[in-house]
Symmetry: C2
Subunit: 315 residues, 2 copies
């Protein structure tokens, strides 16, 4: 280790999250030891964020700590999993105490809010990068997968689309609400937990709605039609955009970290009731699954909308 790994870990990461019953052995050994309640399965994911690719050199470390954990928790949310534990592997050019303190603050606050214990990790020298790996748990057999959508299912999302993409475009001119969506997305864990009883398939929206929905369609061997007029917008988004531009941001912008779930018609009302009972916003129905193989977008006049890198056009 070129860094003073032990000093930094002890100072900023040990004790960052409260004790949790599933943790037999946390930070400081060759590995962490965790228990799993009987009748449960593990859900497991890793994501890496690289400086200059996923975040700028001067990015606020507090926001980065939040986002590095949030994007991983969003994967757990998509599977309907409850957070179980997290490991953090940091690569840093030098032992930067100020950066570590900020990062730990953002990471720790979200970890505590979501009830996920930090149980170990790794710290090494090199070009700045952050690898986070999360474990979740689900009752055996209840994980929501990308496969499982059936023709006739509703396509739904758990929150507004386009906020993060608009914030990225507006830069420093972005209103606070949009900026928060980009820098500090809230993983939709509670909605995912409810959806595991009702969704036929799900994915989290990170690359952009239509791209991610296509992944779900491919895994499920189905197609889907999405109506542009039903894509949900936040108030801040609606105030700052209009028309064609808005559709492109919403359908292909990415970084939304809402869930896109397919729900059989008979499950929709019970799902909405369960979300209401949990104090969560209702699902937004944005389209339907069909027997094709492609996720398509349709405007208010019923014409196909094709998105490309610079926007979208009608056919």
């Amino acid at each position: 280790m070129a860094l003073n790994e032990f000093g930094l870990i002890q100072r900023y990461f040990q004790g960052l999250t409260p004790a949790a019953t599933q943790v037999t052995l946390g930070i400081g050994d060759d590995a962490a030891v965790l228990s799993l309640p009987p009748g449960h399965e593990l859900v497991w994911s890793i994501d890496t964020l690289v400086e200059g690719v996923h975040f700028a050199e001067r990015a606020d470390p507090v926001a980065l700590g939040h986002k590095a954990l949030a994007v991983n928790l969003s994967d757990l949310a998509a599977m309907g999993a409850d957070p179980h534990g997290v490991l953090l592997a940091l690569t840093l050019p030098h032992a930067d105490e100020r950066w570590c303190q900020g990062f730990a603050e953002g990471f720790g606050a979200l970890a505590v809010a979501c009830g996920i214990p930090l149980v170990g990790g790794d710290m090494t020298r090199g070009p700045r990068a952050i690898s986070v790996t999360v474990l979740g748990r689900v009752p055996q057999g209840s994980a929501v997968q990308r496969q499982g959508a059936q023709p006739g299912d509703h396509v739904t999302v758990t929150g507004p689309l386009g906020d993060a993409a608009l914030a990225l475009r507006l830069g420093t001119a972005a209103p606070e609400a949009l900026r928060t969506a980009l820098d500090r997305p809230s993983p939709h864990l509670a909605a995912g937990r409810v959806l595991r009883a009702f969704a036929s398939a799900a994915i989290d929206v990170s690359d952009g709605l239509m791209a991610d929905l296509q992944h779900l369609c491919t895994a499920s061997r189905v197609g889907a039609v999405i109506r542009t007029r039903d894509l949900p917008r936040s108030d801040a988004f609606a105030a700052a955009t209009s028309g064609a531009d808005a559709v492109a941001l919403q359908a292909s912008g990415g970084d939304d970290y809402v869930l896109c779930a397919t729900v059989p018609p008979a499950h929709l009302a019970p799902a909405q009731a369960a979300l209401r009972a949990a104090g969560l916003p209702p699902l937004q129905v944005i389209g339907e699954v069909n027997a094709g193989d492609t996720a398509r977008l349709m405007d208010e006049a019923g014409r196909a909308v094709v998105l490309n890198a610079t926007g979208y056009r009608h056919y």
Copy 2:
């Protein structure tokens, strides 16, 4: 994703390891889903290797694939865990098919040999780095920790010391056997599995024997004395070094990936019998745990040997 992530993953990593009963859902969803047999706990670790820090730009990708997995499996071995699953996060400057093919070959061969399924991961663009996270399983309560060593316990190692450090020093002049120890270490999983019934504490030797033993001593709140004459040497090592130089390489060289385990006197004979029954080499007793707080090295005349960055000296 700047890389054509899906193409590379499908081509080189999907199907790399055979199906395993514990894998409910493998590569290709938001997360992997794994089961855990009743009465078991999880052992979980992550390690990152960075180009220019842990490996050279021109390092053989096959050897690198092996080593990236081996150093993680060595952490499982130290805990006495059986391999359960692995996730691979690759950061690459560009979609380098040749490199991926080599890396997958080395990684896959060791994964198959050790019976650990590759169940997912992440691929992204950036300065070359490899994060591997492994899950292992142990019968509940049987993980071997760094804490637990008691005064009077034997200090043992599961294999020879110094081969990798000597290979590093000799460079291209290193004989094949030493080169293999450096580039393709074999994680001591089988020995770790036997030791979980007999060891009071254990750690894997990655930073160097005395440094890692000090971590074990600190966690166990004990000291230890190690005898230089009892440090085990491979034939290739003995043929290429002598005297003082050999001791420094063995005691502080690092990258050995053998296990250092403390064993109560009453457990030593049964541990040796169990290792023999499993077809494994015997433990080498290299010293004893005492009531102090420091791991010390002693020469044949009973004098303390102090290692420093440039070698060692007598006091």
